[in-house]
Amino acid sequence: MRRSLVNDPDDLVVEALEGLALAHPTLVRHDAEHGFVARATPARDKVGLVSGGGSGHEPLHAGFVGHGMLDVAVPGAVFASPTALQLYDATRAADAGRGVLHIVKNYTGDVINFTVARELADEDDDIATEVVLVDDDLATDLGEEPDDPDAPGRRGTAAVVAVEKICGAAAEEGADLGSLAELGRSVAARARSMAFAIEAGTHPGSSRPAFDLDADEVELGVGIHGERGRSRVPFGPTDELVARLVDPLVEALRPARGSGVIAIVNGLGSTYPLELYAAARAVHGGMTARGVRVDRFLVGSLVTSLDMHGVSVTLLPVDDELLRLWDAPVRTPALTW
């Protein structure tokens, strides 16, 4: 039996956004009428960055609104895309005259609603927009041609944090819309992620996890919406389970010996810090054994699936310029340095 702390489950997202704004009044404000979270003080003379998607993945995205990262975050209901009108209003709010970049995790609903919002913004308001589609989840990589219209493509998961951070830094420096889009796409194209879970998340108001696992099972290649993974593997020590993420990632990315990566070791909701930092250690071991440096680590529960218990690992091969943008100051409710 699992439970969630809610008043009415239907009110949870809005109440949490109110709480977020109350807790961080100097950083963000909640526009209840239009359904988005924006910087408390709008940025001037820069490209606006908008991201969004279903809720249940907090601190993504609203926790990343602030200097050096997003301008506006647009949350849908739990696991449901925000609406096209929300995204349209958010796009208008984010525009400071230099256009707006949409950072979109690859899910049909999100992709469609963001696209509609961009068309509305273009037609009705003449706002220039671009989109970066983040599709990093290796578990859903079926090796299709990128242009295959029949292929849904890889899901978007934790690499979106890197795209938001890096594009956020470049936007703050004054990069124009076109080069931001290019930068974001190049980050998205390089990054891959993979996740496992030892317990599914439980929808607010529900009393059972989205799926059941036996004591000796682990769901490998799991998504962040309660969908099942790609396969079940035996439960085992952290080092072994983390290797099941790192091995295919390295296989796919083939980072050269002597090269460096940013590693995001992400908890899926109820993974606790002792577990997560031990997993980070395992990732470090796996990379070091291959002669690859982990130039930067981001360890935390950043892209979650309610209270799912598990870990995702994202690897992003980097060069000095990406590291410079990664290291640039950021000041948001969930990420500050």
Binding site: A80, S81, P82, T83, A84, L85, Q86, T108, N113, V116
Partner: protein, 205 residues
Amino acid sequence: MNARDTALDAGFGERWTRAMTTAFATEADRLGELDRLAGDGDFGRNLTSAFGRVQQEVDAAGPTTYAAWLTCVSRGFLGTGGTSGPLFGMFFRELARCSTGDEPTVAELGRGLSAGLATVQRYGKAQVGHKTMVDALAPAVDALGATDGTLRGAAEAADEGARSTADIIAKRGRASYVGEASRGVLDPGAVAMAMVLALAADSAS
């Protein structure tokens, strides 16, 4: 005079909108049940919430022209989540944009449906046979595009298209994740699209 040049009277937009509001209020549960059987179950609720918003838009905008009525329907759907929200929303937006005067013609409606189909396909990348609303809309567009095509004929073609979705496996949307389990279940979006067209035909006469 070709049937397709028939002017639909000025009240058409309002009648159609109200007919959809009433009909989907009644049918939302049944359609939601189809989505539950081979999707994620939220389609009924999405419809209810879309038409709730349509009513708000109508109250706020006080539409008088056909285009204005359909713009309210469009915004109602665009303010609704899911996949069907933006697809129906942009579909109705195309209908509104294809109308040039207060009283649309069947031909304008035909061009609107055709543009709407193109938009739905552009966003959703679904072909006929993928078990989506396209399976109802595409035959309707064909029927209305034919010489002597009528709204009633288009509605009948849509209905037939919607029925055909029972026998196929979904290739788009949430239903595509359940594979064989979607066989035998009508696609709710296709059924809804067929209703939209039937109600258009009803409202025209």
